[in-house]
């Protein structure tokens, strides 16, 4: 039986900034936020002034001020790329409690333009942190350089424990690229959109430049610009606006650690716990999910997460991609936008997951061009899972079409 919060609110709109990816003119993170927010207001017909709850990864007071809002609920949870799935969870609870009617969840991240802007315009959330933090004292001495350098350790352990190989995980990159080739907004849509775009083979993935063995470049996500915004509203509003609602049937969040030093099992994440909460609230199970949007910062992230979400047995997540289930036309489409691997990844990718899930479940995901059929699926339910930090934090949503 579904829980009390199930379907107490719906996503009523989800849009992107005007320009995403590698913009010719560098953008700021705030610009990407504002473009997406204006677009979601225009999409739904809900005036920005109607927003009474604001949710973002660290930006909420600045955003509310910029928009001239005086919200009743302010949540600025920033725990990495899953923050936005958690924001949906929190908005659901706040709406159910009657505190707010319309929640804005926004993300803007000039992951690409930050280079041209010399680190300015990012919102200042990329600081080096406290020298007395545990990470600074007990990790920083060892030459790790960002996410791939850490995540590589998880693939090695998965290979050891389950007898998998990096080549097994390469299938995830290959299939995700197939989806990107149906999405003209994807960086890797075609050789014309990017010199590295178009089809890739398992061999291409394995022969690509090593970043952190066993991860080659093509096991790793992109670094781009992105802005996205989502409006979550109470059922009454959801039924009255011009856009279709996508119901939040289930939501859950959890974490296993903050520093990778504290990751007990390198082949597992807290998505097992967060998805259990979400499935229980929804009164649905993994076997009822008709598609999945899974944070793919790296191939290993997606493979392990599929296992945690109950979509595949432990040690066998990669098989969903290897056997074509996850591919265009497959039984369980996964990462239909082309993923963080081949579509767009700004640093914190959870918003991209939400926007694509909304599009799929409202039948507005077509991106077919040049005679291609596009990426729209017939799915009516979708499990969405964000992963933040170093496989640290997770937020899971079970979303269903009206």
């Amino acid at each position: 039986m579904p829980g009390e919060l199930s379907r107490a609110a719906a996503i009523v709109g989800a849009t992107e900034a005007n320009e995403i990816g590698y913009p010719e003119t560098p953008k700021t993170s705030l610009q990407l936020h504002i473009e997406a927010i204006k677009n979601v207001s225009d999409q739904t017909g809900i005036p920005i002034s109607r927003i009474d709850g604001i949710f973002s990864a660290g930006w909420s007071s600045e955003l509310a001020e910029h928009l001239g809002l005086h919200p009743r609920y302010i949540d600025t949870t920033a725990v990495g790329g899953c923050s936005f799935e958690m924001h949906v969870h929190h908005a659901l609870a706040a709406i159910h409690a009657g505190i707010i009617d319309v929640a804005l969840i926004s993300h803007g991240e000039a992951g690409w333009s930050a280079r041209a802007n010399k680190g300015r315009g990012t919102g200042g959330f990329r600081g080096s942190g406290d020298p007395w933090s545990p990470g600074a004292q007990f990790s920083s001495a060892y030459g790790l350089s960002g996410a791939p350098s850490n995540y590589a350790h998880a693939m090695t352990r998965h290979n050891y424990r389950y007898g998998t190989t990096p080549t097994d995980f390469a299938h995830i990159a290959v299939v995700t690229r197939q989806w990107a080739m149906l999405n003209p907004r994807a960086i890797m849509f075609s050789p014309e959109s990017n010199p590295g775009g178009g089809p890739i083979s398992v061999e291409d993935v394995q022969k690509a430049r090593l970043i952190a063995w066993p991860l080659t470049l093509l096991h790793c996500c992109l670094v781009t610009d992105y802005g996205g915004a989502v409006l979550v509203a109470n059922p009454e509003i959801a039924r009255s606006v011009r856009t279709k609602p996508v119901w939040i049937a289930g939501a859950g969040e959890s974490m296993s650690h903050s520093n990778m030093l504290e990751m007990e099992d390198f082949t597992a994440t807290s998505a097992a716990a967060s998805s259990a909460t979400a499935y229980k609230m929804a009164g649905m199970g993994p076997e009822e999910m008709e598609m999945a949007m899974i944070y793919d910062s790296f191939t290993v992230t997606a493979g392990i997460t599929a296992e945690m979400l109950g979509l595949a047995p432990r040690g066998e997540g990669f098989r969903l991609w290897q056997n074509g289930d996850a591919a265009p036309g497959g039984r369980l489409p996964i990462n239909t936008n082309g993923g963080g691997l081949s579509f767009n990844h700004s640093g914190m990718y959870g918003m991209q997951l939400l926007v694509e899930a909304y599009r799929q479940l409202t039948g507005t995901a077509e991106d077919g061009v040049n005679g291609l059929t596009g990426k729209q699926t017939s799915a009516r339910s979708c499990v969405v899972n964000g992963t933040g930090g170093s496989l640290s934090t997770t937020g899971t949503l079970v979303l269903v079409a009206d």
Binding site: F138, A152, H153, M155, R157, W213
Partner: protein
């Protein structure tokens, strides 16, 4: 040549570890209530939540839990690529991160998870000696 890689900045709370490191000892925090060793040093035991924590001298031995080979790095580490990073299961329990020595980063298939390693300390400054682990 002066040490050109990041040097940790000991906090008052972790000072006993760094004092030990300077003397070639691997000092580890242990809860006097549940007797479990934890890493990194806490203000409260992460297992039983007692606040009575003592420092003990560890054996300096452990095993490789998992590893990776870094082909891209910044600062002083940039010129050292490729190098092997590893998480080490301490004999006393819990886990440390390190750059692993005594292994060939160009042949990761020869590095065995579960292999025994020993700690050693490299003077990075007068005050801070950094623990590294080497294949035993």
């Amino acid at each position: 040549m002066p040490y050109d890689k990041p040097i940790p900045d000991p906090s008052p709370h972790t000072r006993p570890f760094w004092d030990g490191a300077r003397a070639g000892k691997l000092m580890l925090p242990r809860c006097t209530n549940c007797n479990r060793v934890h890493w990194y040093p806490r203000l409260i035991c992460p297992y039983c939540h007692a606040r009575e924590i003592e420092w003990i001298e560890g054996s300096g031995g452990g095993r490789i839990h998992t590893f990776a080979v870094q082909h891209r790095a910044f600062g002083g580490w940039a010129t050292e690529t490729p190098f092997v990073t590893a998480y080490i299961d301490l004999n006393e329990g819990d886990r440390m991160l390190t750059v692993l020595r005594g292994v060939d980063p160009t042949k990761p298939e020869t590095i065995q998870i579960g292999a025994k390693v020993r700690v050693e300390f490299e003077p990075a400054s007068e005050d801070v000696h950094i623990p590294f682990w080497r294949l035993a």
